[in-house]
Every structure is written in C-alpha cells, then in structure tokens.
Symmetry: D3
Subunit: 133 residues, 6 copies
C-alpha cells in the first residue's frame, strides 16, 4: 500500500461544553497542524499516487472554511464539541468527498483510504482514518 | 477509526545481556519519549475518544514505576533485556489493563486498540500495538 | 555562556485590530509552544544553572494566567494586539521578574539573560530576549 | 504487533517527465529522510525484533546506491519518474529482499511487514508498506 | 531584542568542486528548509516586528529564483560552490536588501538584524547572520 | 557570521548528588541529542566553514569516550554532577581543543566560536557557548 501525506495548519478559537473539559470550557484556541494521508494500492503511469498540487489546494480550500474562525459560531459545526478528534473526522469527511467527486483528478478517485491527523500541541494529537470510494 | 495520542517521557538506566548488544552491554541509559495512541471506532456524546486528563494521569502513574530508575534493579523486569521494543510492550500491557479496569472512565473502556511507541534517539524508535478489551 | 531551556505550551483565543491583519482580525486562536531559555556565565556547586523543577513550576504559574483564555478579555493585556512577538515579550517580563525576586532560588537570581520563544505554527515563531538582573 | 524503526537520509538530484509536474520537470533535487519500519509479531530470546546494527548497515548499503546521485542517470531507475512514493517502493523492495535473504540475521527473516517512509520536505512525505516473507 | 521567524523550503540540484567533497562532487541535490529570522529592538504600534504576510511573500519570491533548479546552471551563482553555508549567505544578502528597499514595509526598514538558516538534513544545517540597515 | 551545525547522540547512565535533584539522585540515564555549532566570520575558498566530514568524525570520537557508559564511573568526570549543562561544557572543551589542534583542518583552526547543545528530552535542553582560538 502506498501513501502520500501533505501538511497545512489552521488557527481557531472555540470552547467546550461539559464539566469534563475543566478550563477548556472557557473560550480558548488552538493551532491545529493538519496532516492528510492519502492511500492507494498503486501509482498512476507517472508514478504518482495523487497530484500533490491539487491535494494541497483542496486541503487549503477545506481548511479556509474554518481557519481564523471561532468554531462556536460556524453553522456547520453547531451543536458539536469541536474536539481535536471531531475536527479530524470533520476534515476527513470533506476531503474524502473531494476524492470521490474528482476535484483532485484521477489520482483522487483512485484513493482507497484516508487519514487526517491534527496536532493540537507538541504533546497531543488526534486522527480519523477510514476507507474512501 | 478514531485515535488520540498523548506523550510523556522517562529517563532510565539499564544494560543488556548478549554479545549482539556490543557496547550496550555496559550500563548506560536512555530518554524514552513515550507516545500512547488510543483507538476507538466512535466518540462519546462529548465528542471525546477518552478523557485526555485521565489518560495523561494514568500514563504518568505507569511511567513513575520506571522513571529515574535502573531497570536492571526492578523485580517486575527481572530476567528481561529491557530493549526499546520490550519496554513498549511492557507499558502497553499496563495501559491496556488500565483501559479495561475503568480507571480511565467510560472512554477507556471503549478503547479497542492501543499503540505504545518509544523513541530512544532522533534516529530510532520501537512500538507495540494490539487490540484492547 | 551557559543556557538551560524548558518548554511548555498554552492554548489561547484572541483577535487583532488593524487592516494589516486581514482574516486574523476575526476571533481565532493559537497553540503557543513556549521555550524559556535561561542564561548565566557559570553554574552553581551542583553544576546547575537553575533548579529545573522551580523553573518549570514558575513558567507554568505564569502561563496559567493566560492559558485556556480569550486574551481579548484580560485586563493585563487590554489595548494590546497580542501578537506572538508581544506575548513573548509579556512572558519574558514576568519570568525576568521571577528571576529577580528569588522565587526560582539562587540560580534564578544568578540568571543574566533570558529568551522567551513562542512557536505559533510549524512555520512561524517569535521571541524576545534581553538582560536580567 | 511489534515494530522497530531506523532512520537515515539521502541527497539526490532528479527530474520528472509529464506536464503535471510543472517546475519539477526541471532538474532539481531532494533530501529524503528515510524511515524503515520493521514489523514482527514477536521478539527473539534477547527481546529484539531485529539486530538494529545490522538493520542500519543494510539500509545504508541500499541507500549508498542512490545517495549523492542524479537518479535520472541510474540504469536501475531507467524509465521511471522517481517520485517520493516510487522511491519508497524501490527501497522497500530492496529492504524486503534483504530481510528474506538473511543478511539481517534471524531477526530479519522473522520480519512479517515493512514500511519505508521518505520525507521530502517538512510538509510532505510518502511511504510504501507491505508484507514480507 | 525581538525576533520573528518564517519558514519555507526549496528543492535544488547541484555539485561541488574539490576533492574534499568526496561523493558530493557528483551531481546530487537537497531539500533546504529555510528559516528567516528578522530582528528589531522594538515593535510597531500594532505590536508587529514585520508584516508576516509580506515577509513570507518576499522570502518566496527570492526562493523562486533557485527553487526546482540545478544551481550549477544559474549565472548568479557561477563559480561558487553552493554549500549550505554559502546559500544561507546568498539568501541573506537578498533578504537584507529587501528589508532596506522597503518592499516589506516600514517593519522591514526597521529590521536591524537578520539570520538565514538552511537545514540540509535532519542532522546538519548552516546559517549566516548579520546586521541590516 | 557563518555557522555550521552537526548532530549526533549518546546514551548514558548517571546519578546526581544533592537533595535538590529529588528522584534524579537515583541511578538513571538519558539520551543526549548533541548539536555542535561551529562559527566563523568567513568561508574558505571552497565556500566551506569547516570540513563537515572531519567535524562529524571528531565529534563522534569525543562522544565515544562517554557513549554507552555510566558517567559515575568515568575518572574524567569524577566529583562532578554530570548535569546536561555540565556535559555541554565538557564536550565544548574537548571540541574547542580539537579546533585549535588542527585535527579538523584549516577550517577548524579558523573557527572563532562554538556552541554545544544537548537535548535531554523533548521539553528540556542545555548548552554552552564561547569563543575558540
């Protein structure tokens, strides 16, 4: 199995609901370093898994909807605690859809698995991975 | 599949038995940067995989038993070459047990997989992963 | 010249004032990985520059005042754009004062220079450094 | 499942064929930081997955064939676009063969899986993983 | 003293002249991760050292002249061994000039010191630093 | 000012004397990732600050005297608490001497400053820097 990973980051504000969160119930924020790993069993005739330029552009387009935002205000995230694990799942969903629609070319359509990992600090990160297509 | 990883580190002394180990047969030591990755197929109603505070506390409690120690002197490790791969397995066993007993809450009981990775230097690391529960 | 560096991190929300900031004028946030570098021309009789436990504790105490907060709401930062470079300066001031007051012991009093560096993302960071004492 | 990872790096020149590559069609180069992850379900009687010295030596021997080279000139890579994902696959093939032949000892023969990951920049990397033996 | 650092990277081919270089006399290549550190004794009224957007754009513009190139072919580098330390100096010169000309705004004109650091591998890097203005 | 940095690492055991050290008074150990930064105001006619091969070889030779050792047993360190800051100073002294003796060639003799930094964990490091020659 091949994989290709591209990275980017977002800087967001948010707050959590539930006593379990302690001080994180207050409005605070995070830099999420985002790693998107695309997986496929074979490469195309150029020896590419996916066009890295298209992958970076699409990842950036998806991140622009949440970057430099207070996640508490975004309708698409309403009612959700925007934990690192949930945000990895949220971005996974959008990136998996982009693979299927063809916006990332034939390479994106050939992707069979995807992992989105978000680093919230040097000491903690979360991810969601699943099949695509 | 979701995953959440928390990090900590220990600083230990030890020596190895067997000519294969060369100079590492002498008493020496290591900083092990420890990464504990918890896996589960779904999040709880707070969008949490596991309470990160409980996870860090439990990992620290397990590491306290070996931190700032000469591993050659610990009864629990008697007769073992405490290689990086073995120590990953040792910590895995204790952390997996903690998931099952409920000390890390309902989130810990819902964990289905665990990976413990120990970095011994910038250029080498080892891990043990397996099912839990 | 000797130096000793300890690290920690904070997760904050804030917004900036001024058209130069573009989308960062919106309420957003950041993880700041904080590196505090203490400098001194000599070590004490234990070969320590500063007691690392006291240094970590004091750095944490200073960071607790801003961690998991919206910096826009803090009186101590009122009227300031809380840029990465300014926050480095702000924490520098508090940590330098702690060196002088003796809360970090004789080692802290012997510190002659200090650098506080804040990483806002994998691709950008800022610092303030100056003399102490 | 156990895993052990060793790291090294190479510095190569190459060019790509295909309009998709844009400016990377020009002769350029890369530092590939190489991570070789060996996997096995159990350790030997020394608690080793593989002799780390043999693993490093064999990885270095394989990398020497491409290190400080223009990949466009190497017969073994003729007709291939030497993308990061392809080079991961290429090195995987040679390292997997070395496991099977016994050059890395009994530990190498007991390896059941292998992953070779190449970091081309701080923001992008690729890997190939598969069964061995 | 304040400092602000922004990062980018380039992927280049080159070769060295001189027996001291051993195998690096062959055409090979490198990913240079580039860190540009701007220094100034005070911040502007927005609490900025320099407009980070302008700094990134100008650094990218300077890097575009060498990125995805064989440095052996560039007239501006003719007759030079393009070692990591020399390339740091070369980029320093162009970035220092950009500070002085005002292309990075008033913040750039107020820069008093600059350091350009290039990482050639995980285990080696070089830098050039000097006064500006 | 130019600088060139090369990295290596050692794995040592030791213990500390003094109640201030708490649990670190027990025999324990550390991986020290070592960064040696050589500084000089100009490059040689090959555009080199120092021969990187000679620098790596000499750093390794110096580290071999302490690597895979219990520092408590070494006569050269007798009576010293081998803190991270002291070990940086110790290695600095040996590497500075090597610059002066010419074992690192004309480049080593032209070195005017040196910094040795030892990372003891992901969250703490120490350094010693000074003039050479």
């Amino acid at each position: 199995m091949f994989s290709l990973t591209v990275c980017d980051h977002i800087m967001i504000a948010h707050s959590f609901h539930g006593a379990e969160f302690g001080p994180a119930q207050r409005l605070h924020g995070a830099t999420f370093a985002v790693e998107a790993e695309f997986r496929a069993p074979r490469l195309d005739h150029h020896n590419l898994l996916i066009d890295i330029g298209l992958a970076k552009t699409e990842l950036r387009r998806i991140l622009d909807a949440v970057d430099y935002r207070n996640l508490d205000d975004l309708p698409i995230l309403a009612g959700q605690n925007t934990t690192t694990e949930y945000m990895a799942f949220h971005i996974f969903g959008q990136l998996a859809a982009a693979c299927r629609t063809g916006v990332m070319g034939a390479g994106g359509k050939a992707v069979t698995g995807l992992k989105v990992l978000l680093r919230e600090s040097p000491l903690a990160w979360a991810a969601y991975e699943g099949a695509v297509g």
